[in-house]
């Protein structure tokens, strides 16, 4: 009988022993060491033990009877200190144990981020039953709080379990969405939504600074200053193969213990399996390959032929009520094609990634019934070209299932506001429809919904369609792009109504047909989100037009123009010298005075941009945003300072307006002018906002244009003071930001909603005006910043942006 010593009584070695005893009962005299004071249990089920949904007794794989029945000598709680390969013995505190064949199955160790305070009591990893029991013990304190560092599989299962135990739980994750290795952003969004619905606080893009406490953990500090009081910190940021024993024994170790396809290490009498091995450059963390390894090694030990191969893996999360599935490769790529299905009402998202007529990846959330089938197609490399059109519907597709474009509206609750102008909710509209209002006109007459600015017309029609079914014929309207059937106006309203605060939220809740939108919709959605949720939403540079990404206007020869801001068109000799120096230094071929009273440096090479910005910043100048859908310029005349006809300080007002409005993003570019008298030298009557100073005050006009269309401003109001002129202008810009379709200049937007609608809200309703100004000011706390500054500081290391998959182009 061969002496077989096994180091580690985990799931891999446990499965090995099962195969071994089946194949060759009595052939081996097995001694099983385990550092843990217990035998093999299903470690993957620790999360349900933590949550209380399983007991430890249920997850024991091999109990004392099993070991005794197979005459395994159990040395549990006994750590192996060394391996003497020459003498073929393992060394422990109890002495030497000889072997003929040795199996190393030491598994892995949790990775602990060496943050300040990581050794404090109360900071634990999540790896074994002892960790689980420690968490259960801490959760027994009423009101106890936990911070889980790591939003991967293990961290989220820990968080869900601790929450079920009654704790207040915060999950910190350092990337943009949870489980980013297994899920794409859309599925990550749904998972986050589900976890937050359980009362779990999720912070993504979190940078942990330190763990603090006096003798015991008391709080976690983030780099941004956020303080998270807690009694427990769970580190679940990954594992590292446990290889020290093998390394000390002189076995070949790369990232883990190197094995061949028979699980043999560099020593022919020593084998290894599980999380501690590396095979063909691959490490292992999921159970399926470990079981494959066990099968192969059992055959190897019983002189049968077999070879381990790396296979595709699928992921499942063990949080009751969270149904997710992912398998294969779902990264985006030019050579790949996505098929996306979303059902916002049911919280379902499915995405298949195809390459060369083969399914290479699948991500599913909310409906995982076909996960195994898709996984099989991936593993078998099945040619799916014949079922391409119906693939997303799974194997049971009968030809009738299609995505319902109205499902997002159908899913709206009755109290969801549809018409913001008149405060009409979906439930009121549905009641009106049930009361006999079957046309848009009827709805307007009975509820006033869509009767004011009209931007909610599309949504009201969709409510009619959802409620009346085939009895209502939807008028055709222009959707944002091919990714959606919603119009811009619909999307804007739904972002507000459903409180959608991220792009994945929009894609999912509004049933986008593409994984991440396209070059048409992304800039619009990015703007709508940042305009509506300035604090919550993080601007996405990847969703901006190339000029806005580069903070400069690209010219037809590929060079850029650089235009620093000159407040109100006023400059100084110092600024002019700095501009001249920059023009000389970077060999700028053309220096042009613009119609907006600025100086434009044309023909700047891309690699010179940061350096030029740096120099201009040093002279006190900031970006003129000549490239942006935002405030461009405020043109002024000299006003009362110099002009004989000036009635007010038009230059001063222009400077104040520009300093108030700069940096704000708007649906399209916004140009202003202030003329000091009705002679209108600043040409204010063809601007988006034009102010004419008169003896009695300020005439504020809006909606002018002097481009492809030529249009004179319409009078918004007359105000007696400069303060009111500033307030009305800010309110107007904000109401335009909040309501206009992306790429509609103000004059086009006003033509849709009517100037009276604007006046009612900006001029007549003082409370509303101030609320608009307050929201504008809030947004400006985020966006009134020079975009050049952070990039200019990195001038020496600047490199052009990489090519982007979704190249937005103006």
């Amino acid at each position: 009988m061969q002496k077989l010593v096994v180091i580690g009584a985990g799931m891999a070695s446990g499965r090995l022993l099962e195969h071994l005893f089946d194949a060759a009962p009595g052939a081996f005299d097995v001694t099983l060491f385990n550092a843990e004071p217990r035998g093999n249990y299903n470690r993957l089920m620790l999360s349900p033990v933590l949550s209380g949904e399983k007991s430890y007794g249920e997850i024991i794989t091999h109990d004392d009877d099993w070991y005794a029945g197979n005459t395994v000598t159990c040395r549990f709680g006994e750590k192996i200190d060394g391996i003497d390969r020459a003498r073929k013995v393992v060394l422990s505190a109890q002495g030497e144990t000889p072997y003929d064949k040795l199996i190393i199955a030491t598994g892995s160790n949790p990775f602990i981020i060496p943050l300040p305070g990581h050794t404090l009591p109360g900071v634990i990893s999540y790896r074994d039953l002892d960790d689980t029991n420690a968490m259960i013990e801490t959760s027994a304190t009423p009101g106890a709080r936990a911070v889980v560092i790591g939003g991967g599989l293990l961290g989220l299962e820990a968080a869900a379990g601790l929450r079920m135990r009654g704790m207040e739980v915060t999950v910190l994750h350092n990337t943009g969405h949870l489980m980013e290795r297994q899920l794409d952003a859309a599925a990550g969004y749904l998972l986050r939504r589900d976890l937050e619905a359980r009362g779990i606080n999720v912070i993504t893009q979190a940078q942990t600074q330190s763990i603090e406490g006096n003798g015991h953990v008391a709080r976690v500090m983030l780099v941004d200053g956020t303080e998270l009081p807690c009694e427990l910190v769970v580190m679940a940021v990954g594992i590292r193969p446990s290889v020290q024993l093998a390394k000390d024994a002189g076995l070949d170790v790369g990232r883990a213990i190197t094995v061949d396809a028979q699980m043999q290490t560099s020593d022919p009498d020593v084998y290894a399996l599980g999380e501690c091995v590396e095979f063909a450059g691959t490490l292992f963390g999921l159970v399926a390959p470990l079981y494959d390894q066990a099968k192969v090694l059992a055959k190897t030990l019983t002189d049968q032929e077999d070879a381990f191969t790396v296979k595709e893996l699928a992921t499942k999360l063990k949080v009751t009520g969270c149904d997710l599935f992912s398998a294969g490769d779902f990264a985006e790529g030019a050579d790949r094609e996505d098929i996306v299905f979303r059902d916002p009402g049911r919280g379902v998202y499915k995405r298949l990634v195809l390459k060369d007529d083969h399914l290479i990846g699948a991500v599913m959330y909310g409906d995982t019934a076909d996960g195994s089938w898709f996984f099989g197609l991936i593993k078998d490399a099945t040619d799916v070209s014949d079922m391409r059109d119906t693939l997303i519907f799974g194997p049971a597709y009968q030809g009738g299932a299609t995505a319902d474009p109205l499902s997002a509206v159908a899913a709206l609750p009755a109290d969801a506001e549809i018409c913001g102008c008149n405060g009409i909710c979906k439930g009121q509209i549905v009641s009106a429809i049930k009361g006999g209002a079957h046309t848009l006109g009827d709805i307007r007459a009975t509820t006033k919904a869509s009767g004011s600015c009209g931007t909610c017309t599309g949504l009201v029609e969709q409510v009619l369609a959802v409620t009346l079914g085939d009895d209502f014929v939807m008028p055709t309207s222009q959707p944002v792009c091919k990714c959606t059937e919603f119009t811009h106006e619909d999307v804007r309203l739904l972002i507000k109504t459903k409180e959608l605060k991220s792009q994945p939220a929009v894609w999912q809740e509004l049933g986008w047909t593409t994984p991440n939108g396209c070059h048409v919709c992304r800039p619009a959605i990015n703007f709508y989100l940042l305009a509506d949720w300035p604090l919550e939403y993080q601007d996405d540079p990847q969703s901006r037009f190339v000029n806005e990404r580069n903070h400069a206007n690209i010219q037809k020869d590929g060079t850029y123009s650089v235009m620093p801001r000159m407040w109100g068109g006023i400059t100084t000799p110092t600024e002019l010298r700095a501009i001249a120096d920059a023009a000389d230094k970077y060999n700028v071929p053309t220096v042009k005075v613009t119609g907006g009273q600025r100086i434009d440096l044309l023909g700047v090479k891309k690699e010179d941009l940061p350096g030029m910005w740096f120099d201009l910043n040093a002279a006190g100048m900031v970006s003129g945003h000549a490239y942006s859908k935002g405030l461009r310029t405020v043109k002024t005349c000299v006003g009362t300072d110099h002009c004989r006809f000036g009635t007010q300080d038009s230059t001063g007002l222009g400077i104040k307006l520009e300093k108030l409005l700069w940096g704000s993003w708007t649906p399209h570019k916004v140009k202003l002018a202030v003329s000091g008298c009705p002679r209108n030298c600043a040409e204010a009557t063809c601007k988006d906002v034009g102010i004419i100073c008169v003896d009695s005050g300020y005439q504020v006009g809006v909606g002018g244009a002097a481009g492809m269309d030529l249009k004179e401003t319409e009078r918004l109001c007359d105000v007696p003071t400069e303060e009111e002129a500033l307030e009305v202008t800010a309110a107007f810009v904000q109401i335009y930001r909040e309501n206009a379709k992306y790429l509609d200049r103000p004059y086009k937007w006003i033509a849709k909603v009517g100037l009276d609608w604007v006046k009612e809200r900006v001029v007549d309703d003082l409370e509303n005006r101030r609320a608009l100004v307050a929201r504008f000011d809030l947004s400006q706390t985020i966006y009134r910043k020079d975009p050049w500054a952070p990039l200019a500081a990195k001038a020496d290391t600047f490199a052009p942006l990489a090519d982007l998959t979704l190249e937005a182009a103006e």
Partner: protein
């Protein structure tokens, strides 16, 4: 299996019965009455209009109802119940969307050492609090429960609420972060089944059955997942969790256990969407079992089964 003990004991529930709508009344749809044949006979002759009696009230008010005293109440079979020693009842309406499929009624008798809990938790202002419950002799636990509330995701009721899923919890007396745990442990409450009770008006209700080994509500629990999002269009259901005093854990980490429509009592509940009570072979060797369907909208989502 130490969570559910297989010991010869009296059960916590004496009677289980199903009432199904027929026209404008609820009529008997099966039941388990044990030795209480007179009460069974009285029940067989009874039907309830909407709003009438306990089943009719659960139908009309569209909510689970706990009734702890029959005398002088709207309970129609008071005399028969009194004769049978029954003192309390819980009515659980089964709705599929707006349609009432059935009302399940469980009846219990008071006993100085009969411990257990059947609780109805209701959500209001973002907090789940006890609407009512029947606890037998577990008076202290009842008092603590009345003072206890749950947020989303916390404890058994809060987890059922946030996941919209039935949940089976073990070791109730161990380490839970709320006062109920210690009290539950003292009286031997060790296993809890929580399930959502969907109603047409959208109010969140969670029903919990907390069982003690001495006087168990059940000795075997099963949770079956029938959502198409989980099992596709097969019409089958998959066992997502289960535990049995005799067989130990019923779940299997590597193999899914499925049930087909009409296959056994769970299959009958799956196919019909109606609760099923079985006292024969389908009760897996126990005296009786009930399979209770739970719908999400109009679709059957889960079936919970308990055996005693």
């Amino acid at each position: 299996m130490d969570t559910l003990m297989e010991t010869p004991v009296r059960t916590f529930v004496d009677v289980m019965e199903i009432w199904v709508p027929e026209g404008d009344r609820l009529v008997p749809g099966g039941g388990h009455y044990g030795t209480l044949s007179a009460f069974a006979e009285a029940s067989r002759k009874t039907s309830f209009a909407r709003g009438e009696g306990l089943p009719g009230k659960a139908w009309a008010e569209e909510r689970p109802i706990v009734l702890k005293a029959f005398e002088g109440s709207y309970f129609l079979r008071t005399d028969a119940a009194k004769e049978a020693g029954l003192t309390s009842a819980v009515a659980i309406p089964v709705f599929a969307g707006r349609t009432l499929k059935a009302v399940l009624v469980v009846l219990c008798s008071d006993d100085a050492d009969r411990y257990g809990a059947i609780e109805v938790w209701a959500e209001s202002d973002g907090i789940l609090s006890l609407q009512d419950g029947y606890y037998g002799a577990a008076k202290q636990f009842e008092e603590i429960s009345q003072r206890t509330t749950f947020k989303r995701g916390q404890g058994l009721p809060g987890s059922v609420w946030s996941s919209k899923t039935p949940i089976l919890m073990r070791d109730l007396g161990l380490g839970y972060g709320f006062m109920r745990a210690e009290s539950a442990g003292k009286i031997g409450l060790n296993t809890g089944l929580g399930l959502p009770v969907p109603v047409p008006n959208g109010t969140t209700y969670a029903l919990t059955l907390l069982t003690a080994s001495g006087t168990p509500i059940a000795r075997r629990f099963e949770i079956w997942d029938a959502r198409t999002a989980k099992v596709g269009s097969s019409g089958k259901a998959v066992l997502s969790d289960g535990i049995c005093a005799r067989s130990g854990p019923l779940w299997n980490f590597e193999t899914d256990r499925m049930v087909a429509p009409w296959q056994g009592p769970v299959g009958r509940a799956l196919a019909s969407g109606l609760p099923v009570i079985d006292t024969g072979a389908g009760a897996a060797g126990y005296a009786s079992m009930v399979a209770l369907p739970i719908h999400r909208g109009a679709e059957l989502a889960h079936i919970v089964a308990w055996y005693c």
